[in-house]
């Protein structure tokens, strides 16, 4: 297998609040390979967005990375001087957000914003930056890029705004794109267009994408591999096909069962009982055991490690591997 572009090991993020320390990420590890889309799925508050922000070194205060490493081409970003990481940010590693209307600055034109980013990362003059901006806009399927550059964000539709965000992210030759719920705020038809664009960018440019979403439908359509995050911990990870066809972890099973499908018409929708555990006092043992229908003694005492159960398919559950399998 190829060398990973990004490799995250045992990433821990804590939020210090007045009520106590909230454990947002409890040792997350994954690799992102060149030219793949890795889906990061989970419920609200499981740490998806924090993971994405951590890759750019933008965990918002009072949060802080307290352990682990994030390697980009073998280089640990966490030990990099701030200025060097800042140069990578928006350069090699870029990010797009859930609500493009809020992520674009309302009082600058699209052109002004793109120029600013381009000229930050590449030594070029105004005109060259403008041409570059127009070119990137065209490459993400924007008609009349010259005109778009003159518009203000509020004059564009949601889909167009997200295309602008993507163009801005790619304008300086990004290799890694962190896409945090890029389609959640958009209409369904537009969603499909944006997802197609991402898949297309992966194919044509060899872009690696970390696609953060809560929507398993989106994952099935676009991702090569999936990582399932629960309470700041990856519980299952593997190729999309394997996850959907040979699902292992009870939590992932629950997620899949909760998707409304035409084939299950007439049956009540499945929901996972209980709620995501309190980040202030995570339960001992497996984080999922209070909600797990299959939990047994060991689950309450010992936290399971992420173990490989099939080719490239890993799961963190005492039901698989180890003693239970014997």
């Amino acid at each position: 297998m190829k060398e990973p572009l990004i490799s995250v090991r045992d990433l821990r993020v804590h939020f210090r609040t007045y009520a106590g320390v909230v454990h947002a990420l409890n040792g997350v590890s994954f690799d992102l390979y060149p030219g793949e889309i890795l889906g990061l799925v989970g419920e609200t508050g499981c740490g998806k967005s924090v993971t994405g922000l951590a890759l750019l070194g933008l965990v918002p205060p009072p949060g802080e990375v307290v352990g682990g490493e994030i390697r980009y081409r073998g280089q640990n970003l966490l030990s990099l001087p701030p200025a060097q990481w800042q140069a990578l940010r928006g350069g090699k590693i870029a990010m797009i957000f859930q609500d493009p209307a809020a992520a674009l600055n309302p009082v600058f034109t699209v052109g002004e914003q793109m120029e600013l980013v381009i000229r930050r990362h590449r030594r070029m003059g105004r005109d060259a930056a403008r041409r570059q901006a127009a070119e990137v806009l065209r490459s993400v399927g924007m008609p009349e890029p010259e005109r778009i550059l003159e518009t203000y964000p509020h004059e564009l539709s949601g889909g167009m705004q997200q295309r602008v965000m993507i163009a801005m992210a790619l304008s300086c030759g990004a290799e890694v794109l962190v896409a945090d719920e890029p389609t959640t705020a958009l209409d369904v038809t537009i969603q499909a267009q944006i997802l197609d664009l991402l898949v297309d960018l992966k194919r044509t440019r060899g872009l690696s994408i970390l696609l953060i979403t809560h929507n398993l439908g989106v994952v099935a359509e676009t991702c090569d591999r999936v990582a399932v995050l629960y309470a700041g911990f990856i519980v299952e990870m593997g190729p999309t096909g394997a996850i959907f066809q040979a699902v292992k972890h009870p939590y992932t099973q629950g997620l899949l069962a909760a998707i409304p499908r035409p084939s299950r018409r007439g049956n009540p929708l499945q929901a996972i009982p209980g709620t995501v555990p309190d980040g202030l006092q995570p339960p001992p043992g497996c984080l999922f055991h209070p909600r797990c229908p299959f939990a047994w003694d060991r689950c309450r005492q010992e936290r399971p490690a992420l173990l490989e159960v099939a080719d490239g398919h890993q799961v963190a559950c005492h039901l698989y591997g180890g003693e239970a399998a014997r």
């Binding site: 928006g90 870029a94 609500d99 600055n105 309302p106 009082v107 930050r120």
Partner: protein, 340 residues
């Protein structure tokens, strides 16, 4: 709404307000208990003289006719005649207004260059030492009596340190040996144009203390407003997005965020500009600055009503104009304003 339609509406409103202001000032001038005609004639007037003055000043006619004449004169740019000196007020204003405007403009520049950066940094380092410090400055600045602060500054910088002059626009030496040729009436500008360097330096040292005294209130307001809007703006998603694009913090704060925070800040600055025009009354008295304030205070002592009213009217028209300009600037700064 179209942009021109918006501008037209603001213009109409401004005209309406100026009209209302002229009514109010006229009314104030006519409730004076002292008799303008008697003042016009001077000390120990005879009844005949007073009656003649009354006819000459139009005071014998009905009130609404008097207002009609007053308004007609205003429209022709005639603000009347000082009762005390019998000089046309417009002529006096031409001498005093530039002095006050120069003072106010330098003060506003101080407010912009001290207030906005402190407000921005305060918001960026929220709840840290710098923030507490600048918030303390802000609240002290709006609480301190201007006239008292002026005295304290004189005591320190003139009385103790002897660094800066105590008052006036220029020193006597300059008027004698390096006379300033009046072009615009703004000494700093005039001395620059005529390359009169010693006089420029002299005018500069004279303006620092009064301008700073005047600016204190505006500095306080500007820090407060900039800080509170910047705190809100810095929580916006586009700021995170800008960081994710690798833009340096300086660009994010002073360019991307500040432009979003500028509309409320400018409103406050415009307000303090006009407040400064009136605050100048106090400052000019303390620093013997020959401007509108000194003009109007001597008018108060002499019960010279046409002067008081003319100054009130002029400053108010400035106020209305600034608000109008502000509305237009808002449209330029934030393309969404017209839509609201």
């Amino acid at each position: 709404m179209k942009v021109w339609e918006y501008i037209l509406r603001r213009l109409l409103l401004a005209v309406l307000v100026v009209f209302g202001v002229s009514v109010v000032t006229f009314f104030i001038a006519r409730v004076v208990p002292s008799d303008p005609a008697a003042l016009w004639v001077g000390p120990r007037p005879s009844p005949d003289q007073i009656a003649a003055a009354r006819v000459k000043l139009g005071l014998d006619r009905p009130l609404y006719i008097q207002y009609f004449y007053y308004l007609g004169n205003l429209l022709r740019g005639d603000l009347g005649v000082s009762i005390k000196t019998h000089q046309p007020i417009v002529q006096d204003l031409r001498a005093y207004l530039p002095a006050t405007l120069e003072l106010v403009l330098v003060g506003m520049a101080m407010a912009v260059f001290i207030g906005i950066p402190l407000g921005v940094l305060s918001a960026a380092r929220r709840n840290r030492l710098l923030d507490h410090f600048s918030r303390l400055i802000a609240v002290a600045a709006v609480s301190i009596p201007t006239f008292w602060l002026g005295l304290l500054l004189q005591l320190i910088f003139f009385g103790q340190l002897r660094w800066l002059p105590i008052g006036g626009r220029v020193s006597i030496e300059t008027t004698l040996y390096q006379p300033i040729q009046t072009v615009t009436g703004f000494y700093l500008v005039d001395t620059l144009i005529t390359r009169n360097w010693p006089a420029f330096w002299d005018a500069l040292t004279h303006i620092i203390l009064p301008a700073f005294t005047l600016a204190t209130y505006a500095i306080g307001l500007t820090i407060r407003m900039t800080r509170s809007t910047m705190v809100e703006v810095l929580q916006e998603k586009y700021i995170v997005a800008a960081r994710a694009a690798g833009l340096p913090e300086r660009t994010i704060l002073f360019r991307l965020a500040l432009k979003n925070a500028l509309v409320p800040t400018l409103t406050v600055l415009a307000l303090s500009f006009v407040y400064s025009l009136t605050g100048a009354i106090l400052v000019e008295v303390i620093f013997s600055w020959p401007g509108l304030g000194s003009y109007v205070t001597s008018a108060i002592i002499n019960v010279d009503f046409p002067v008081i009213i003319a100054v009130t009217l002029i400053v108010t028209v400035f106020y209305v104009l600034i608000n109008l300009v502000l509305d237009l600037v808002q449209v330029a700064l934030d393309p969404r304003v017209v839509l609201k």
